[in-house]
Structures are given as C-alpha cells and as structure tokens.
Symmetry: C2
C-alpha cells in the first residue's frame, strides 16, 4: 500500500487519507473565535427566532434573565421563595454584621450590603438558587490590601471610601469580563487552588477571631500565623474569661446545630436559625448581666434608615489607585469564582439554567450598583446559598424577599442589633469558616493527583504564612506551570495489537502483540514549539528501547496522530527533522490518521509533498500492512532470513 | 453489552477495559521526572556498562565529549579540520572586530573572544560542526542593556567590567540550566519568535550601521527606528561621501560573493574570504589615500599579546546587579537558543551526535572561562558555522585551529588590524545581518499558521519600535499565551463510521455515516482545570447541534477518550457534572478507551465506580453496539416506532 500513489485513485480508495485543501482562513478564524469565546453558543435561541419583535424579546430575556422566569411565575412558587427568603435573611443579617467587622467596616455597612445587591442580582442573575451577600475571604482580603495604604482605625472615612472604590473596580472588572466572555479567567482557579486557599483562609480567619473570643483590645495589624500567635501571647493579660466562656459556648452551639443538620436534613432550620438565635440570646444576656462591666464589648450604635448614596465617595486618586486596582482585581476574580462555582453546583443538581458569563455580568452590576449605595463586595456565599436551597427556594425571588426584609430591619430594627456582643460575631465567623477546612477533599486530591495536592498545599501554606493574595497567586502560578508542563511533555505510548479485536492499544495498559521490526507510537497532543524537541527525542528513545528489548533492528516506524489536535510550524519542522534522522538511519516513517487541522497545516507547509502521500494512512492496520510488505522486501534484498512472522507478547510493564 | 457486569468476567472478556489499579506513586513520579528532564535517556550507554573502570571512562566521555572523538582521531580528519579552521578564522577575525564595536567594546576584545572560548568549546561541546564566536544580536542586546546604567563613552572601563560580568552571569546561568537539564526554557523560543526577532534585529543593526557607512561622528544612543532615522537627519551635514561610496562598494562586493556562493556551492571560499579581503583592501586603500583627510575613521591602535586575565574585574555590586542579571539572563537564553538550533540543524543533516543539555553546559563553561580572560558573550553563530561546515570541518578540532590562528594573530598581527576602516566593519555587519531577513519563512508562516505569523510579527515590530529585549519578550509571551489557549480550548470532533473500513473518523474530514440517536464525540487533550467547563459546554452543544440538524432526540452519547493523555481532579469533577446533566436530561453517557493515566485517576477518584464499569468500552464499535441495544429497549418501552435503522450520510461540512 505504501507503494501506491493515492493521488490518482483518490477518492475512490476507501483507505485513502483525505488530503483536501485548507479550509478558508476566515472560516478557521470564525470557528476558533467561537470555540474560544462562545463555546456554549449562547445566542442559539435568539438566532432561531425569525420575527424581529420576538427576536427583540428573546434578546431582552437573554440579557435580563428576570424576564425569562417572571412571566410564568406562580403564587405557589412565591410561597416557596418567601419562606426560603425569610430563612436566608435570618442567616444573612448576623453574617453581614460579622463580615463587615472582618473587613474593618462599620457593621451597618454589612446590613446595607444585604439590601441593594440582592435586588440587582434578582434581575440579572441566571442562577435560581444563589443567595447573594458578602463572603469572609474577600472581606479579609480587602481589609488586608487597603489597610496597607490607610489604617481603618486612623482614617475610617478614607478607608471606607477606598473599600467602596475597590468594590466598584471589582464590579466593573467583572462586568467587562462577562461582556468580553472571558470566563476563561475564572477557570484559572482550579478546585485544588480553591480548596487550599479556602482552608488557609479558614485558619487565618479563626486565628483572627480569637481576638473577639478572648475579648482582647489590642491585636496584630498584619496576618500570618506567627504574627497573630505572637500578638495573642503579648496581650495575654487582656484575656477576659467571661467573653471566652461565652464565645466557646456559642461556638459549640453553632457547631452542634450544624452537626444535627448534617445528620438529619429536616433539622436544617435549626442551623439556619442558629446565628440569629445566638445574636438575640447574646444581646439579651449581655444586657441582663451588664456586660460592659465584664469586658463584653458590643457592636455599638447603629442608626436607622436604608442605604445612603455614596457615588461621590468613589476615589480614583492616583495615590491610592494601585492598591485599589489590585484589590479589585483579585477580590473580583475570587468572589466571582466562588459565586459561579456554587451557582453551577446547585444548577447541576437541580438541572436548572446557569450561565457563567451572565453570572459575571450580574455580579459586576450588583457590585457597581452596591458601591454607589454604601455596599461592599458581594457574591454568592456557600452557606447562605445552601440554606436558601434547602429551605426550598425556586427562583431568584428569594433574593427580593431578603432585600425587603433587610430593608425593614434597617428601617425599624437596626438599633437593636447594636447590642450584639462582638464575641457572638466571632463565634459566627469561626463556625462559618470551619466548614472550609475540607480534609476529605485534600485526602481525595492526594489520592487522585499528587500535583493537584501540591497546588492545594501551596495555596494553603502561602495563605497561612505569607498573605491571602500571595498564597492565591502562588497556587494559580503552579497550576499554570503545570498546564505548560502538560504542553511541554505530552504523553505518548507504544501501541500493540489486541489479538481478539484487531485494534491497537497501549502496550503498558493491555496485553497486546507487536511485530518485530515495526514500531507503532501514539503521540500526545498538542504538538507545539515547546515540545517539538521532546517529541523527537521521545520517538528516538522508543526506537532504541525497542531494539534493546527485542534485539531486532527497527525498520518501520508508524506514528499514530489520531490524538494530536493541533500542531504549529516549529513542531512541523521538528517532525520533518525526525523523519530525516530516521531515514538517515535506514528506517521508514509513516503517519496515521492526522486530524483535519493537523493535515491542513501539513499540506500547507508542504510537509505532505516532501514526505510523500504514500506515507500517510487512515488506520494503523493499513500502515502495519504496508510496513510488513516493505519489511519483507528489504529483508529479501538483504538476503536475511525473511520476515520473522512470530509476534512477541509484551508484558504489561515496559522496561524503557 | 452495557448491561453486562465486566467485573465478573474480566479478564477473560477481550472487550473489557483494563481497570487494573493505580501504578505506584514512586513509579509515576520517576517516570514523570524522566519524561520532563531526561527524555533522551542520556545515561543509557553508561548504565549498560558493568565494569567500574569502563563505567568511569564512559562517564568521563559523557561529561567531556572530546574524549569521545579524540582517541579515534586521524591525520586525515585533521587535514579537513585544519583547512576548515583556517577558513573559519578568516571570517572570524573581521566579524569579531565588528561585533565588538557593535557591543561598544574595544575591537581587541573581539579578537580575545575568538581565542579562549573555542578552546573550551572544543573540549566540552557535543556538536561536530559548530564554530564559536560572538553574535550580532546578543552584542547589540548587551550594549543596549548595560548602557542604561553606564554609557560606554563616559566610563569605558566600568562598562567593560559590566559586560564581562554579564558574560559570566550568562555563562553561569547556561551551565546551571544544562546541569538541571532545563533545555525546556530554550524550547520557549519558537521558530516564529526567532524569525521575527532576528528580522527585527537585522533592521535595527542595519540602521545603526548607517553611522559607519555615512561616516557620522554623532549618533543616537537609543535604538528604535524613529530615533535612529531622526538622528541621521539631524547629523546629515556630517555625512561624508567618501566613506559612503567605500561602504556601498564593499557591501556590494560582500553581497555579490554571497550571491555567487548561493548559486554555486563550490565558490563558498569566495564569500568565506570576502570579509578578510575587504578588511585588507580597505586598510591598504585607506593608508594609500591618507583616509583620515577624507574623514575615513579607522579602528585605531591595537596592542599585541594574548588575553589578559580579568577575573578581578567581575563586578557584583548591588548597584549594577539588576541590569547585569537581566542582560545575562536574556542574552544567555538567546545565544543558547541560536547556538543549539544551529548545531542541531547541521547534526540532523550529517547524522552526527548533538545533545542540547551538553551544549548548554559547554556554552556556559566557555562563557565563564571567557569572562575571566577578557572575552565577552559567545555562542555558535550561523554564518561562521556554515562556512566551517562547507569548508569540510569534521570535528571540534577546527575550533582549536581557529584558536591557535587567532592567538598567532594577537601575538604578531594585531597592530595591523588597527588600520581597518570603520566603514568596512559596518559593511561586514550589514552584509551578515541582511541574511536574517527571512522573507520566505515569514510567507511560509503566514500560509501555514496565522498565529505563528502574528507571534513572528510581534517580535519583529517589538524589536524595531520598542527594544530588542522587549520585542523578544512580547513574542515569547504570545507563544505562551497560545500554549495556554491550546490547553484551555482543546479541539474535539464528532465521529462517524467509515462505511468500508468500519473505523470511526471526524465527520468534518471524511464522508461517514452516523446513527440517529447516538452521538460520538472525540475529546481533545489534555483535560484540565482550565478547560473543564469548556469541555462540558462543548459536549452539550454537540448534543443540541445534533438534535437541531437531524430532528431526532439524542439518547446515547459516546465520548472517545483515546486522545486524552491526561486529566486532573477539576476536570474529573467536570466530567462527573456532565454525566449528571446528561442523565438528568434522560440520556446516557459512555466512555471509550481511557488511557492508562486517565483511567488510573478515574478509578482513584471513584469516578468509575460512581458511573459504573458497564459505561466503559474498549472500542467505539463496542460502545455503539451497546448503545444500539439500549436505544432499542428504550424505544420499545416508549412504544415508539422502534429503532430507525437508517443511517444519515453527513456532508463534509457540519453546520454547528
């Protein structure tokens, strides 16, 4: 078959490789663009619609998802959403106050943050179950970054303004990414990175909250395990046993209710109501025993009224711009990644719609709107969303219910929350973040993929010993390095024939038979400048290894390109060099089943014409047959002992 | 077949996937380590040797390649090498003086640089044909970077010391990379990057040499097309017609000899001798016409004697460390990449040994030794190596011949070269670099791969309009971005059956038949956190697209994993989500031929046990048969019209 000229008999010969010319440049460009930015084909419904009016409606529904579900909204759905909204609010209010304290903001900012963003999200969000609000890790990250420029206790007004500006920047950034469909950036945060980062953040947050539990008045300004522990040791004389006992009691209560929920899902309301219960019990208790005398600090005055406008406070002063941009970028990505991952996981379970790019736009809009109405960074936190989901939420309406209830709270009940003891807030934060310590996942990573485990641990220790953002960046950096290593060292394998099925499989994986003198190698993908030399070295090593093992000279080498999805010019040149080296050593190289993109480039680069069309085969079987014929000829002419027909059964373990 | 439980009948069933457990961690680590750093298995010869003494000899031969070829060296080989060495020297001397001027160094440094490094390379280098010396682009790059700290005309001594230190740093860096076997870094410079960078450098160098051609006394200190052109315009009154005419004449002569060589390879000596001829003719002519009176500047005094030691001049002052490290790093990589690429291309042609990692060590040692003996950065320049090769060089002995001849020149003839007119040097440089403008390659890149073309152009324009190093970095950055994009968007395709052969191929590439209700998708590689979502979206789009095109509900989806070389935990989770979504929509997912590494992780992550072993098949054909049975059952139970046995022949162009 090798000797046959396909160019004459094509396309009649069913064994011929299709060498049809290149697809047009514009077509390839369009397809590449679509795969890169629009892999989910988001406009398919709109494109199908032919009438302009309906098309406009579909566009509106696409851009503003509330128009998708509101027209068919029923009273029954509302009942579900209403109760889910109430439950979510009961966890939202204490969490919001706690996280605002975490971000070194006045607690009322936390309450404000639970009013405007849920409304915006209900309109633009594509997830049905997400309940939006601030998250602990982003709160700490903002405070860490902004306090390098201005300390919150020195200039709380400027600090607040910078936090609002950071929120705006994060929102703008999220919206832009959404419109540019660059969800690909969010994909950079792998499971392993998030597990490690969240674990590290949980440890840091717990350590920081020891301040509240112990009732300390002084504390380290910086994070980092050693700094915080040293600080506790330095101020150990300030420790009040009253707050410590109270804190540990509430923490135990919160953890107990969580435990109950995990054992019996019907008891979820117990844990959902627990934060609010601790706040109320804590406040009443502190009031009754005159807590101040015992060193129990409270939140302090909270004034009534809903969110004041803060648009005039956004500060784009060049003096503060760098840290604001940095914080906005990192917290924007981080919170988006968390919110999208959580929304997606519930959407998968319930088979409801979820669109990552729309979520980005929704998050961005809610943060931009939030930043001009006294709110700081929000996303979809896991705990609240889970409670919302378990409580029976059906649509984003539950966010509207939450917003309405928080508005009522702000208007009438805000001053009452001023009596909340700080120790209660610390207990709530610790209880919330302890769940981030996902031992099971770490063990899973260790078992399944050691490199993922390393990425996870790098994030964890980076966060604990250096800083939140540095830890995150180290972990992401390692992930990218690994992606590059994959490209640099694509896996290849030697193939042999499965005796019963007649197809070719990895000699390491299956008990297969190989033919002496013929070597079949399956190459990995993509073939690329970064691995062009490697692939060459690897092929030469397969040849040497085969000769060393069998003691028979390899004369025919068959490269199975089925799995090679793309190739570049450097790699084509490398393949040409390989071909030359192999021919110089008196061997012959054939290629099997190059895919459309690879073959196009091979044709364009004149690789096919230089190598000869007769070296290309559609199946490994065809190539092997041609090689056998060539082998027989060469051995006959070398007056050797003819083709050795015996096949060697490889063991499952290859020595090279 | 789907309903069959393989766990019972394995391994007798030849159709069964081999679910054998994970390979040991250490084994996987060792294999990964070997593939990453030792893909060429460099110690194979040594490992084969059993006697300690012979083993020691093999080690010595491995580490110091001269011991490989010297014991079998013959008189005949020496004759070849001797004449090649003479020819290479005749081009080396004028080039060395020119490039030293280019690096703003005293011309004698150029001559020194042709003495020590060739000796070191002859001992440690693995290439047979490389002739070492300075190169134009690295010379310009060094001068650009170091002159940001200290101007050569203000403090030539300090400038020289910093250049020597840069050489040392580059050498140290190259040696380390070689010992750490990190040739992977050199692979980052793709063909396209080098083509673009060299083209840009050629334009910059030519523009700069206009100073010499026009005989200008003042000139721009910075590079960049606009700056240089403006500078020529500003000092246009300094242009001397005498030098201009002389320069153009010599340039025409040099180009003519090159042209002759390209037409007839036997005339290579014409072009090999041309630089030396221009130097001699130029010097004699200038002397005869009393050139100084006509504004023809000469090199100036050159003192006799071989390289003075400069070890005490290496300056690791923190004030200059940053630019020195930067210049050392970039020029180190650049010169290594050029030297290795050139050595490899001749090794491929002649089928002689060449080892990238050994070359790095040899380059590193020669630069470190050079830096303490008054030499600046060297590598294997293309022009000299080509002349050396064409002149019949057989081993690295030709480098020793060159070193000996240069030593003689230094000892006796150096002062004579002081009469060389600068305009001759400019003509030599321009003639050398004009060859870097590789139009054919650029056209080739444009035709074969548009992205490679963009990478090339980015390097070219970056070099021309910004700076040499920035241009290089932009180009490399784009290459890496593309590598990441490949990982983020691996190519997948829909498969159909080739009627005559019974194997499954891309529907876009071949005329194949598909079964209604069954969708077969071949996934690209690797599957990874960065593409986990994409792969999911893409599979769902294939399903929708299939349903839209055929109008028949898809019930069975078959994923061909043959080409997937690796998978990580995030992607496994994504595949699990895909499986869940597909099941939620009443469809079934099967997997075909997962490769050893992928299957190991699937087993370890309990993916196989959650999905069920009955969903894994060894061949697409097996999976299709099982799907057909399942389809028949489901349609019978749905009391539909049974399985539609008709197959649809796809056109070569798919609509989705």
């Amino acid at each position: 078959m090798r000797m046959m000229d396909y160019s004459n008999c094509y396309p009649e010969d069913p064994h011929a490789v299709n060498f049809a010319g290149q697809r047009g440049f514009l077509k390839v460009l369009k397809s590449g663009f679509k795969e890169t930015l629009f892999p989910d084909d988001p406009f398919r419904e709109i494109k199908k619609e032919e009438k302009p009016l309906f098309r406009a409606i579909k566009w509106l529904q696409y851009l503003v998802p509330i128009f998708q579900w509101l027209p068919t909204y029923t009273w029954r759905l509302f009942i579900s959403d209403f109760f889910a909204g109430i439950t979510a609010t009961s966890i939202a209010v204490p969490q919001a106050i706690s996280y605002a304290k975490l971000a070194d903001l006045h607690p009322i900012i936390g309450l404000y943050t639970c009013f405007v963003p849920p409304i915006v999200y209900a309109i633009f969000g594509s997830s049905r179950h997400l309940s939006v609000g601030p998250i602990a890790s982003a709160s700490l990250l903002i405070s860490q970054t902004i306090s390098t420029v201005v300390r919150p206790e020195e200039d709380p007004i400027l600090y607040l303004h910078l936090v609002l500006t950071t929120t705006f920047v994060a929102g703008l950034f999220q919206t832009c990414l959404g419109f540019l469909r660059l969800g690909i950036l969010v994909d950079l945060l792998s499971h392993s990175t998030i597990t490690g980062f969240m674990g590290g953040a949980a440890v840091m947050l717990t350590l920081q909250q020891l301040k509240g539990i112990f009732g300390l008045k002084h504390f380290a300004h910086k994070t980092g395990v050693t700094t915080v522990l040293k600080s506790i040791w330095t101020y150990r004389h300030e420790i009040r046993w009253e707050t410590t006992v109270m804190g540990l009691f509430f923490l135990a209560y919160l953890q107990f209710t969580k435990h109950q929920r995990n054992r019996n899902r019907k008891l979820f309301w117990l844990s959902a109501m627990a934060p609010m219960t601790t706040v109320i019990v804590g406040a009443v208790f502190t009031y009754l025993v005159n807590g101040k005398r015992h060193g129990i600090q409270t939140v302090g005055h909270l004034s009534r009224g809903i969110n004041p406008l803060t648009i005039k406070y956004l500060k784009f002063d060049s003096k503060y711009l760098a840290p604001v941009l940095r914080a906005g970028f990192i917290t924007g990505i981080l919170s988006m990644a968390e919110g999208i991952a959580i929304g997606r996981s519930f959407a998968v379970v319930e088979n409801t719609p979820h669109d990552g790019n729309k979520e980005m736009i929704a998050f961005g809009l809610m943060n931009m709107c939030g930043s001009v109405t006294s709110c700081y960074l929000t996303t979809g936190p896991f705990s609240k969303t889970a409670v919302n989901y378990i409580a029976g939420c059906k649509t984003a309406m539950s966010n509207l219910v939450q917003a309405f209830l928080v508005a009522l709270t702000l208007e009438f009940l805000a001053p009452l929350f001023g009596y909340t003891p700080l120790v209660v807030l610390s207990a709530i934060i610790i209880s919330a973040v302890l769940g981030f310590l996902n031992y099971a996942e770490v063990v899973h990573l260790y078992k399944v993929d050691k490199f993922d485990f390393i990425i996870c641990m790098a994030g964890f220790f980076g966060v604990i010993f250096v800083a939140l953002d540095i830890g995150l960046m180290i972990s992401v950096g390692l992930s990218i390095l690994r992606a590059l290593l994959y490209v640099a060292r694509p896996d290849s394998c030697k193939l042999g024939k499965l005796p019963d099925l007649g197809c070719y499989r990895d000699t390491d994986q299956y008990t297969v038979s190989t033919l002496p003198g013929i070597l079949i190698v399956q190459l990995g993908s993509p073939m690329y400048f970064a691995n062009s030399n490697y692939v060459k070295e690897r092929i030469m090593r397969y040849i040497r290894c085969e000769e060393d093992t069998t003691g028979i000279t390899v004369e025919q080498i068959i490269l199975d390109l089925s799995g090679v999805t793309s190739i570049d010019t450097t790699s084509l040149e490398g393949l040409w060099e390989t071909n030359k080296t192999i021919e110089n050593n008196g061997m012959q190289l054939s290629f099997v089943n190059p895919r459309i993109e690879v073959l196009e480039k091979m044709v364009a680069a004149k690789f096919v014409s230089r190598v000869g069309k007769e070296s290309f085969f559609l199946t490994v079987e065809d190539a092997v047959k041609a090689s056998q014929i060539a082998l027989r000829k060469s051995r006959a002419s070398n007056s050797e002992d003819g083709v050795r027909g015996t096949t060697i059964h490889q063991s499952a373990v290859d020595s090279c």
